[in-house]
């Protein structure tokens, strides 16, 4: 069990480091990607799947998954949807503004363990953000993996993240990328339907496949069922959980999930590890 030692530096773990917002890009109506650089220089190394606590001075702090490229540790990238007081404050920070950052925290996607396997990435809505660093790693180290399939479901075509990047990924010959939306009107020429409907069509070697899943919990539940139906066991399915994380180091208990703390033991879990608690409403 990871415990905070007295000798560990507080800065970055319990004390936010000041970061300057260097770029803000609007992804959708209410979702923005912020690029940040440390005020005092340096780099922020992270593992794909980890999160940071982002602090708006005087407003509050929220956990946000890292959506940047793991080989670019000098630029911190977070995709944030404005849904509450703190996230609204984060997304209203302009270029040159300052935010506090603690982290990175938590577990990452099992990219080392997945080497030699086919990899299926299933993302729903904003769930593409924590998967983006993993996808970038898969694409950069393409030769280490078998087939790579990315399935992405969004609410409408207007709600899709990283549209230009999705187009670039789709143009590659060494991955399969399929996108679907829940609702569409005339102009949309792509798939319509929930993301789980894309799973039966996957062209993968099922006994040698690892699945990485991130999205709303309902979407993840149905995705796991479809992956199981295809023959992928819980032991090779990884999901990223979201809870109300506060301290981010397993002290406060806000994000306790059965015997696990999402902030410390997760957010990425092997599905069989958390399956007993996944549909227990009391946790």
């Amino acid at each position: 069990m990871a415990m905070l030692q007295e000798s560990e530096p507080l800065e970055g773990t319990l004390l936010p480091e000041p970061f300057i917002v260097s770029k803000v890009r609007r992804e959708t109506r209410d979702t923005f990607t912020l690029e940040m650089e440390p005020l005092n220089g340096g780099e922020k190394h992270f593992t794909p799947g980890q999160f940071n606590m982002i602090y708006v001075y005087g407003v509050g702090e929220v956990p946000i998954s890292i959506s940047g490229d793991p080989v670019e540790p000098s630029i911190l990238k977070h995709t944030v949807r404005a849904v509450g007081t703190v996230t609204r404050a984060i997304t209203s920070v302009k270029r040159g503004g300052m935010l506090g950052v603690r982290g990175p925290f938590g577990s990452g996607w099992p990219l080392k363990e997945a080497e030699g396997y086919d990899v299926v990435v299933v993302a729903g809505g904003l769930g593409l953000a924590p998967l983006r660093p993993a996808i970038l790693h898969l694409l950069r180290n393409r030769e280490r993996y078998g087939r790579v399939a990315i399935l992405y479901g969004a609410r409408t075509p207007m709600d899709m993240l990283y549209k230009k990047e999705l187009e670039r990924w789709r143009a590659r010959f060494d991955i399969d990328l399929d996108v679907t939306v829940d609702h569409a009107t005339g102009g949309w020429k792509g798939n319509v339907g929930v993301v789980t409907t894309l799973i039966p069509g996957l062209k993968i070697d099922v006994p040698n496949t690892v699945a990485l899943v991130c999205g709303p919990e309902i979407m993840m539940r149905f995705t796991v069922r479809e992956l199981n139906k295809l023959g992928i066991p819980d032991e090779r399915i990884y999901i990223s959980m979201e809870r109300n994380m506060k301290c981010a180091v397993g002290f406060c208990g806000h994000c306790q999930f059965g015997p696990q703390f999402i902030c410390r033991d997760g957010p990425v879990f092997r599905y069989d590890v958390i399956r007993p608690f996944f549909q227990v409403r009391e946790v």
């Binding site: 949807r81 609410r155 829940d182 929930v194 409907t197 039966p200 999205g215």
Partner: protein, 157 residues
């Protein structure tokens, strides 16, 4: 290059996986190859549901037309999917439009021919109904998930 027979295509389609050989022959007797160009309607709401389709390639949208909003796509289907079940239940009329979004090739199965064979051979009818029930359940579950709007905003802040 070997040309697949209709029986081969039906036998290998996931919807008919494991079907008894005599039923494959029954189905093949009611089947024909069809193709639809991009934009072409396969059927329209209210029309006679006289066929169903096994999509071999391409993409089809299930749509409903609203005078205020135009055609609203409810779902898209592609390779390996089954299109249409209104042919199974009276009044045998389509409830939605189906339109090819791109060049689509399919096997069309004649509804009257199949309904007659189902009446003559109840076991065959039951087998077919079981398989269609699975499709209907899947589509119902998908529709419920779509209605849930799971990507809507929920704040944990």
């Amino acid at each position: 290059m070997s040309v697949q027979s209709m029986e081969d295509i039906i036998r290998e389609h996931s919807f008919f996986k494991g079907l008894q050989e005599r039923y494959v022959k029954l189905l093949a007797g009611c089947a024909s190859n069809v193709r639809f160009n991009a934009g072409e309607y396969i059927f329209k709401e209210g029309g006679r549901a006289d066929k169903f389709y096994l999509i071999k390639s391409g993409k089809v949208s299930i749509e409903i037309y609203s005078p205020e909003r135009g055609s609203i796509i409810i779902q898209t289907l592609g390779e390996g999917d089954v299109l249409g079940w209104s042919w199974l239940y009276p009044p045998y009329r389509w409830h939605f439009d189906a339109r090819a979004l791109e060049l689509t090739r399919a096997i069309a199965l004649d509804a009257e021919c199949l309904r007659r064979k189902c009446e003559e051979d109840k076991e065959f009818g039951y087998e077919l109904l079981k398989r269609f029930s699975q499709i209907i359940i899947q589509r119902l579950q998908s529709a419920r998930l779509q209605l849930l709007d799971v990507y809507g905003h929920a704040s944990r802040e």
